[in-house]
């Protein structure tokens, strides 16, 4: 845990909703004017939102940053419960309290490795941001149950990344889990490249990426999704079991030491 001369330049600020549009199925894209947060966000970091009109709820909701420029921060979110349902009702001009940027994002992509992004569901959000800030281009694997949950294909393509899609019901791209597509690709390419994984999605998917990275002795950076309280490192709600290099295990705060961890740090199933 840090004890340094304070933190990461997190601010508590009022964002003004600049736009809020459908992004297909239950997904929506929400843009905030928030010039005190926007310029400092790194890919993989998140913002913690106080959702308006959620009056008997006492917690904020965390969302990865999907895009950021000098003045605006954008998130891409899926409606899954009360909070995101209420979020889907906010309208342009409305003010939303933002806490951010928060967490430790993805490391810079190394030029000697080929970045391989693996995304499930809204896991594309931080990876689009990463792709947009990465000097090196690589390949993106997007896995989903069906076509409706495959997002941002064009976005990645416009940025010059190769996109491979796998859906479990076969409604788009290859049929099956994303790992099937990934494994096939790895089998073809592994002799020629050093992949470095950047993944965000359900735990099962992250674990599968981790297994492959460890097997191949490659790096894999995983962005975890844990239910959060404060988002600031104070409440110890969001912990993930991690192992230090010396083998000792402890709890890491996903909001502070994470949400991105190198896969070798993670102790699964605790």
């Amino acid at each position: 845990m840090e004890n340094g001369p304070i933190g990461k330049g997190t601010v508590l600020t009022d964002g003004v909703v600049a736009s809020h549009v459908d992004a297909g199925a239950q997904y929506r894209e929400l843009v905030f004017e928030a010039s005190d947060v926007a310029p400092r966000v790194e890919p993989g970091q998140f913002i913690h939102l106080r959702i308006p009109r959620l009056s008997n709820c006492v917690l904020r909701r965390p969302f990865s940053v999907f895009r950021a420029d000098a003045r605006t921060v954008t998130i891409l979110y899926k409606t899954v419960g009360r909070g995101t349902e209420a979020l889907s009702q906010v309208t342009p001009g409305e003010v939303v309290s933002i806490l951010g940027p928060l967490g430790r994002g993805f490391p810079r992509v190394l030029s000697r490795t080929l970045p391989v992004l693996v995304a499930g569901g809204y896991g594309v959000a931080p990876l689009v941001f990463l792709a947009s800030r990465s000097a090196t281009r690589g390949v993106v694997f997007i896995g989903a149950a069906g076509a409706a949950d495959v997002l941002c294909v064009e976005e990645f393509e416009k940025l010059g990344w190769a996109v491979r899609v796998a859906t479990e019901d076969g409604s788009l791209g290859e049929t099956g889990r994303v790992t099937v597509a990934l494994d096939a690709w790895l089998a073809r390419e592994r002799a020629d490249i050093i992949p470095e994984f950047f993944a965000c999605g359900p735990d099962g998917m992250l674990k599968a990426v981790s297994d492959r990275a460890i097997e191949g002795s490659w790096k894999a950076w995983l962005s975890l999704d844990k239910h959060m309280g404060c988002g600031m490192g104070a409440c110890l709600a969001c912990v993930q079991r991690v192992r230090a290099e010396d083998g000792s295990a402890s709890w890491a705060r996903v909001c502070r030491e994470g949400p991105v961890f190198e896969c070798r740090e993670i102790v699964w199933n605790v």
């Binding site: 845990m1 840090e2 004890n3 340094g4 001369p5 304070i6 933190g7 990461k8 330049g9 997190t10 601010v11 508590l12 106080r50 008997n56 709820c57 006492v58 917690l59 904020r60 309290s97 806490l99 844990k226 239910h227 309280g229 404060c230 988002g231 600031m232 490192g233 104070a234 409440c235 110890l236 709600a237 969001c238 912990v239 993930q240 402890s250 709890w251 502070r256 605790v270």
Partner: protein
């Protein structure tokens, strides 16, 4: 308007030897050890900082899930994870000493002796202004709640701590007892300097699809606005029972919530869960109390404390 009303009202209060600029502190476990919120909250404007509970050595706490939101509040079962008193003194106390704000260390132990040991270790720690004794944590079997089961056991734990430190000692009382006055009197008679209340109320949430408790620890503690009226009632009773100061907490979101505690007899208040949704809450409450005093022509917050009308 009198000139008194135009002047800034005096917000300072004293809890035994702890002198506070204003009566608003942070509640243990909701504000970390100081640095966590320092980016967004001016620590110097707080009445006091109460840090997360510490025992002698490091403690791992419970498995996750550790927190779940419920209507009007949340349940937590962190299980007192922490670096231990040594870890705190080494890693956090130097940071805290840079601020002009009293630091109160919340402690717990698995045995009466451990409470005493932690207190003794803190006794000569520079920059520690007081010790809050958690005898009411619902989240771990070993710690706290067993010592808060009845006033006699609580008194014994209080004496263990009292004997080992000359710093102000503040037992944190349990909320789920029918006789809070007896606990408060036990604190007073054991020579403690103040009491604080309430801790979270033991509670549980079940996922009806899996039929499992949502928290890994099964039970947790309820905090947030849901418990505010329960806390006001217990604070009112405790304040009537003793002459030592009472610190009121539970569900404070607005200055009005804090003012209820002050009127009921609390000399100070603590903001817990509300830090999560709005880290500016403690400072907003400080400003709101000042506004209230101005509007009511009170020169000092001490006029408000215990001013409940029959």
């Amino acid at each position: 308007m009198t000139s008194q009303m135009q002047k800034s009202p005096d917000l300072s209060v004293e809890l035994g030897a702890i002198r506070m600029k204003n009566p608003v502190m942070t509640a243990s476990g909701t504000f970390g050890y100081g640095p966590e919120f320092a980016d967004v909250v001016d620590l110097n404007r707080l009445g006091a900082i109460v840090v997360k509970g510490l025992r002698m050595g490091p403690w791992d706490g419970n498995r996750p899930p550790r927190m779940v939101e419920v209507r009007g509040g949340l349940l937590n079962a962190i299980g007192l994870q922490g670096p231990g008193v040594e870890g705190f003194i080494r890693e956090y106390l130097p940071f805290l000493r840079r601020f002009d704000v009293p630091v109160i260390v919340n402690i717990w132990g698995r045995t009466m002796e451990e409470y005493g040991e932690v207190a003794a270790r803190l006794d000569d720690a520079e920059g520690v202004h007081g010790i809050e004794m958690n005898i009411s944590c619902p989240n771990i079997k070993e710690g706290g709640i067993a010592f808060g089961a009845d006033p006699a056991t609580a008194a014994e734990a209080m004496r263990c701590v009292r004997q080992r430190t000359s710093k102000p000692v503040i037992p944190k009382l349990p909320p789920n007892v029918p006789n809070i006055a007896a606990f408060a009197r036990a604190a007073e008679e054991s020579g403690c300097d103040a009491v604080s209340l309430i801790n979270t109320i033991p509670a549980m949430a079940i996922d009806i699809e899996t039929r499992r408790p949502i928290l890994a620890n099964r039970v947790g503690g309820l905090s947030g606005p849901a418990i505010h009226p329960v806390a006001v009632k217990l604070v009112w009773e405790a304040a009537q029972a003793v002459r030592i100061p009472v610190i009121g907490m539970g569900g404070i979101e607005t200055a009005g919530d804090a003012i209820e505690f002050l009127i009921a007899g609390a000399s100070a208040v603590a903001v817990g869960t509300a830090n999560f949704s709005d880290p500016a809450t403690p400072l907003r409450v400080v400003d709101g109390i000042a506004d209230y005093l101005r509007r009511h022509g009170m020169a000092s917050v001490r006029e408000l404390i215990g001013s409940i009308q029959p």
